[in-house]
Amino acid sequence: MPPRIPLPHDRPNSLGVPDVTELFPSGWAAWRRAYVVLRELDSVDPVTKELVRIRNARRQKCELCMSLRSSDSLAAGADEETLEQVDHYEDSELLDLQKAALRLADAYLTPTPVSPALAREIRRQLSPDQIVEILLRLVHWSNNKVMVALGLDGDDLSRQVYDP
């Protein structure tokens, strides 16, 4: 969809969507500092992260996020057949750890308080560091809501690989 707000210029960013950093430069600078820290978290494997990212992308219907595939997940062996299972993960052949991560993601996306049974299952499959990392990454990825709300997530984007 076209942008819903006037933009200072029509230059796209490296991912082919409107470059909006000039709209809120101080906010973007502040976020980048948080992102530098987030990038260093490494308790969750790349394929599990990618499954959670795509789950969020499809929930928010973000065109950009749905078009992307992370280079590290592909290097770790993720293929489209694996990633497509995110839509029906409970009945899929994904690993128990991956299913637990997706249940945690769904609790964030809905959002719902985690029941005692679900909490036990999540803690059985994921370490505290992994739980916190998944939730903080969902904070990052859900920034796509800003793009979706303001029509900044692009249109007819081809599949592209990005370096997280």
């Binding site: 819903r4 707000i5 809120f24 502040a30 820290v37 928010q60 959002p111 739980i131 859900s142």
Partner: protein, 196 residues
């Protein structure tokens, strides 16, 4: 009067109950994530699990409070918390209870009536309508809702306001999932860091 927001099918009526907790009541501990680092309250323990991230996040929130009308932010943040089902929300810190105007506190108490109450200015109603749709179903936002914002805000202010909605909502969701009580503002994060 702002048009009613478009809700995601199946969510039904928008919750109207406002439970604003007293700013002086001590924050609680009851998260199911028992293995967080030690701290006086669950929020402090969560911050301690990734102090670098939360320090940067606090700085981002500070930037948002500087960039966007703080009354609008307080109202929208409180309204989003209600819609997310946060059990009870502290809309103000102890310091803010002293410093925030009585009109703002009246508006916070009357949030359930924002579409109809004369307390709310047109810009506040427009922002609240947008914030409600943002949290309930962002795909339900359309050009008419953005145009309504642009009648009151510049494109840059529209963007920073929407950015603020994401920022506040995202951390509210984290805390809901973990059953952690979220402090009202970044100032509380700074205090937690100083006391830790």
């Amino acid at each position: 009067m702002a048009l009613p927001p478009r809700y995601h099918a199946g969510l039904g009526q928008v919750p109207t109950e406002t439970r604003i907790l007293d700013a002086d009541t001590p924050m609680r501990r009851r998260t199911w994530l028992k293995d967080l680092p030690p701290g006086a309250a669950d929020w402090e323990r969560l911050v301690a699990s990734s102090p670098g991230f939360f320090a940067a996040w606090s700085a981002l929130e500070d930037e948002l409070w500087r960039s966007v009308d703080p009354t609008i932010l307080r109202l929208c943040r409180a309204r989003m918390a209600i819609l997310l089902g946060v059990p009870g929300q502290r809309a103000l810190t102890r310091d803010e209870k002293r410093d925030v105007s009585s009109l703002t506190r009246q508006k916070l108490a009357a949030l359930a009536q924002w579409p109809y109450s004369p307390l709310f200015a047109p810009v506040e109603r427009t922002c609240l309508s947008f914030a409600e749709q943002f949290v309930l179903d962002v795909t339900g936002i359309d050009q008419s809702m953005v145009d309504a914002l642009l009648e009151h805000l510049s494109p840059a202010d529209c963007y920073s306001f929407t950015y603020a909605l994401w920022c506040f909502e995202a951390m509210e969701r984290v805390c809901l999932v973990l059953d952690v009580e979220l402090p009202p503002t970044a100032a509380a994060v700074h205090r937690a860091e100083l006391s830790g």
